[in-house]
Symmetry: C2
Subunit: 593 residues, 2 copies
């Protein structure tokens, strides 16, 4: 069994210094969000994650879910953990107070969600999907729908799902074929959906499926998709559960990882049509679904941070205990953490995690400002940053997580390849994160097309200006000079890359699409480097002022140095790859493969 | 089920143009190794790999091996495939003619071994370990031992194993505790060994364990280790099988991948001591084992090539069939291979594989020259290259294979995460390759310490001179100018990196150890870039001469361009990482983790 200890100190530092917790706490409606409350929430969440969820991570992985005749059984202990999770109010925590949630800022709920993901990623998906559905109903449902579904879903008695993918369609929602035919005050929904996370389970009293489907007269393509609420059990007028709806889990997938999370094939309408209720207006389903998708993308990016942290803690704990070979210059009996390359691997993991977390929390803080700042301009500027950074957080943090989980295995040597050790599970679990909620290429194309080219590079220019202003301040600290120089160079690389996109996207979109993923890596490296550098600059300043915890602050400076010297330089390689290498990709003859 | 088609055309091109097949065929003793024979061997091996071994890869993975009361059962079909493999002479093929093998050059057996590894990596390990044991006995055994064991092992009736690792020791062989006590003409061996590949199985009539153990009066550390032959069944004077020896498989590991390969925990001497026979002289076991290790390291590097090729073929085949979304500028119904980023991923996989294969085959060709060239100086120069390149082939090809297998999953999107698809298996199987036969860090330290610093950089300088002379020739071809410039710059980066090592290794070995893995990546990128560039230069020259297969040759040029523009530039990042970033690794306080 592998332990998880929520890195509360790192989290609080990133929340305060990068996410802007003092600013967020000062926003209207956040009056109660003081340091004491935040500290207490993180402490309690850390205990639940470490004591309840983390020990189930490996047992659930090994046992997996079962599906017999449409009935899904989750692994031993998961149902009990879910009940405790609900009873402790954790399911409701990220939701709006209006529906029974705690109405906390995104910046405060983000580290808590990170803890669930790190301690038990498969388990955490249930809440994540439910909260996505809550958000969609809250934004687009009518009053009756809100009253019927939200309180039970927020509390966690009922769970929610997103039903997008169909076998023939994959990421291409234009190809959705599921049909919805009007019948009185409802619709009859017929079709098959795949990859439905927690689509059927034994922890919920009812499951509220949000389903993309076409009306009979719908236009073709993405403009003809509507969104329906299709509950597993129909809900009576008094709120009690009524008849079983005509939908069934026909099977669950045998997956590489996240075995504790049932991934269902859902069959709607085998016996005449599942009863569904239209949400919002017809043919606007994709738009509504995207309300959830963007939030979900940030959440999956956060999964990248979380699974990396878990893999890191496991590798570090092993490296501190395992004795093998005498490290250069060390005493006999020194554990393997003394070997230079083990240290390098752990440092690489830790520095990347710190940069990723800073980027995720920074984005969460911008969401709170975009949502609640009294000044409209501040809201708009923050929203532009959220839009720009969302695909970077999603794709870069998840791509990193695969590498970091792989390093976690490597630190263990041969025992890392043995499943009982637990390191391999993170390598398997992490592998889904660059795929679901939009693959890395989808994120990269969103970044290049919608987030950079569409506004003529305005949002990117604003971010670059923010970076430059920030880096200029670091130079006051001597020990920051090298990091500042490297960060400055990296921002220059980002600027050149953005200009390359702007110069080409309109005329040659295939070319910028071929350069999009290298660009995304580049943008992630630079953005992460900026924020880990900022953390170090603040640490350097606090050290001068005689801080209470100098070792922690010194570590932040050393982490930023590692990042500046071992991660940032690769931005240059990605610049060459996109600027000089994209042509060759586009021109490579398909017959040559 | 996923197909495997041996890439014979690519293999023959690399054998001829990079491995130097005409030179190797002209060596004394290789008179029969003509183009016809080589072509016929590759054709037949390709059929066996594609038709017999490849279909069992996934079924064996899913079923796995079982161990009940010390009896291991391999998955359905494996035993029958093994018998066919033996009967077709494939097991014997790489062995010396003296013991019943075909005595083929390494350059010719290498592509055949690549096919076994690609079609069924778990299966291929049985032969690989047996051939390692054959090599050790052939080099260090006495006449009686050779006569007793080699014919049966070469034929494949008996398999062989390497018993190095112990639970407390891992890669640190100095800590080996297994004991061997003399008793008449033999020894009694007692101890526990772990991670014994094919250590117990149901395909062999007998299993010949080579076991590292200590004599009672042995000095401590690696200088007190001897090598013993410990057969599962004792062999009677007439060659028939006698009594069961006192050794048992106490369990097999539950692993992340290579489920078709039983990884045994072997317990020797539970009932008084297993009968073992000393091989060669006492206390020289480690030296003997290294005879096998170096060969095994090249073989594991080749596994990296092979598993990458398999992952590539699977992803390419899927991308050619799957229709989803309309690629930019393409007709509706165009499969996903038309999407620029899918094309980029496949091109990246293919270019890296081509470079890796070239490097592995080049090294195999040098082995043949080192072994059989009439001129002593040529032999020595070739051996120096083999020694230098072995850790690079092993570690760089395997590190790449993890990334390539991961890209293979990514090309599939969501279905890549579903085990039935088969892409995930390669991602799991590849993960062991950077660990066994010496981790990446062990290879990197071997490269930096023994292969570069020990001879004052002489071997590295010779390699760099070879690269420069080769690249200078490319410039005659117009379309090679860019690739040549990039390759030249990359060689300069390698030269600076080598100098950095030479300047520091004696005084600050911890520093060069901290830079060793970044250096290894750098060296692999540069060496691979040299050889893929060389292939392209030859292709360009042949194109001018009006070649029979211009499309194949054009693809080689485009692959080298991709490599030069998207892979080579990262060498610069690794140079900064090692030269500027190693200090920080060494200085990072262990308490900060």
């Amino acid at each position: 069994m592998t332990a998880y200890n929520a890195p509360i100190r790192d989290m609080l530092f990133a929340m305060k210094e990068i996410g802007g917790l003092p600013t967020i706490s000062a926003l209207p409606g956040n009056e109660e969000v003081g340091d004491d409350l935040v500290g207490a929430i993180l402490e309690e969440a850390g205990k639940f994650a470490g004591n309840v969820l983390a020990p189930l991570n490996q047992t659930a992985d090994r046992q997996g879910c079962r599906c017999v005749d449409g009935v899904v059984t989750t692994p031993d202990g998961i149902k009990e953990a879910y009940i405790a999770f609900r009873e402790n109010g954790w399911n409701a925590m990220p939701a709006d107070a209006e529906y029974g949630g705690q109405g906390l800022p995104a910046l405060v709920s983000t580290p808590v969600l990170e803890m669930w993901k790190a301690s038990n990623m498969a388990f955490s998906l249930c809440q994540m999907l439910t909260m996505g559905a809550v958000s969609a109903i809250a934004h687009h449902g009518n009053q009756e729908q809100k009253a019927t579904y939200l309180p039970k879903m927020v509390e966690g008695a009922w769970t929610g799902t997103m039903n997008l993918t169909e076998p023939q369609a994959g990421s291409d929602l234009a190809a959705v074929r599921t049909r919805a035919v009007p019948e009185g005050d409802h619709y009859r929904v017929t079709g098959t959906k795949i990859f439905i996370t927690w689509g059927e389970n034994d922890v919920a009293e009812n499951i509220i499926h949000l389903v993309l489907a076409r009306l009979p007269d719908a236009p073709p393509g993405v403009k003809g998709i509507s969104l329906f609420i299709v509950p597993k059990f129909l809900v009576n007028a008094d709120g009690s559960l009524g008849a079983r709806n005509d939908l069934v889990c026909s099977s669950i997938e045998h997956k590489l990882g996240i075995h504790g999370s049932p991934t269902a094939v859902m069959s709607f309408g085998d016996s005449g049509g599942a009863i569904g209720y239209l949400m919002g207006e017809p043919n606007r389903g994709l738009e509504y679904m995207f309300t959830m998708m963007n939030h979900a993308r940030l959440n999956v990016g956060l999964e990248g941070v979380a699974i990396s942290e878990r893999a890191y803690q496991q590798a570090r704990d092993y490296a501190r205990e395992r004795v093998q070979g005498r490290p250069i210059g060390a005493e006999a009996g020194t554990p393997i953490i003394g070997h230079p390359d083990v240290r390098r691997m752990l440092l690489d993991m830790k520095a990347r995690i710190d940069a990723m977390r800073a980027l995720a929390y920074y984005t969460a803080g911008r969401m709170d400002i975009a949502h609640g700042h009294p000044d409209e301009r501040a809201r708009k500027e923050a929203q532009a940053l959220v839009d720009l950074l969302t695909p970077i957080v999603k794709a870069w943090c998840t791509e990193n997580s695969i590498q970091i989980a792989s390093l976690g295995v490597q630190v263990h040597g041969g025992v890392g390849f043995v499943e009982e050790t637990g390191a391999a599970q993170h390598y398997r679990d992490a592998r889904i994160t660059t795929i679901y909620e939009g693959t890395t290429a989808i994120q990269a194309n969103d970044l290049v097309g919608r987030k950079i080219a569409r506004d003529g590079g305005a949002a990117a220019a604003a971010l670059i200006a923010l970076m430059r202003a920030s880096i200029a301040e670091w130079k006051g600290e001597d020990e920051m000079l090298l990091v500042a120089q490297r960060a400055e160079a990296a921002v220059g690389v980002l600027e050149r890359a953005v200009q390359w996109i702007l110069d080409r996207h309109g005329e040659t979109p295939a070319l910028t699409a071929a350069g999009a993923v290298p660009f995304l890596h580049l943008a992630g490296i630079v953005a992460g480097g900026w924020l880990i550098g900022k953390q170090a600059a603040i640490a350097a300043r606090e050290l001068k002022g005689g801080a209470a915890d100098p070792e922690f602050l010194r570590s932040k400076i050393a982490l930023a140095r590692h990042y500046a010297l071992q991660v940032s330089p690769h931005a240059d390689g990605y610049l060459v790859a996109m600027m000089d290498g994209a042509d060759n990709v586009v021109e490579f003859d398909l017959a040559w493969f």
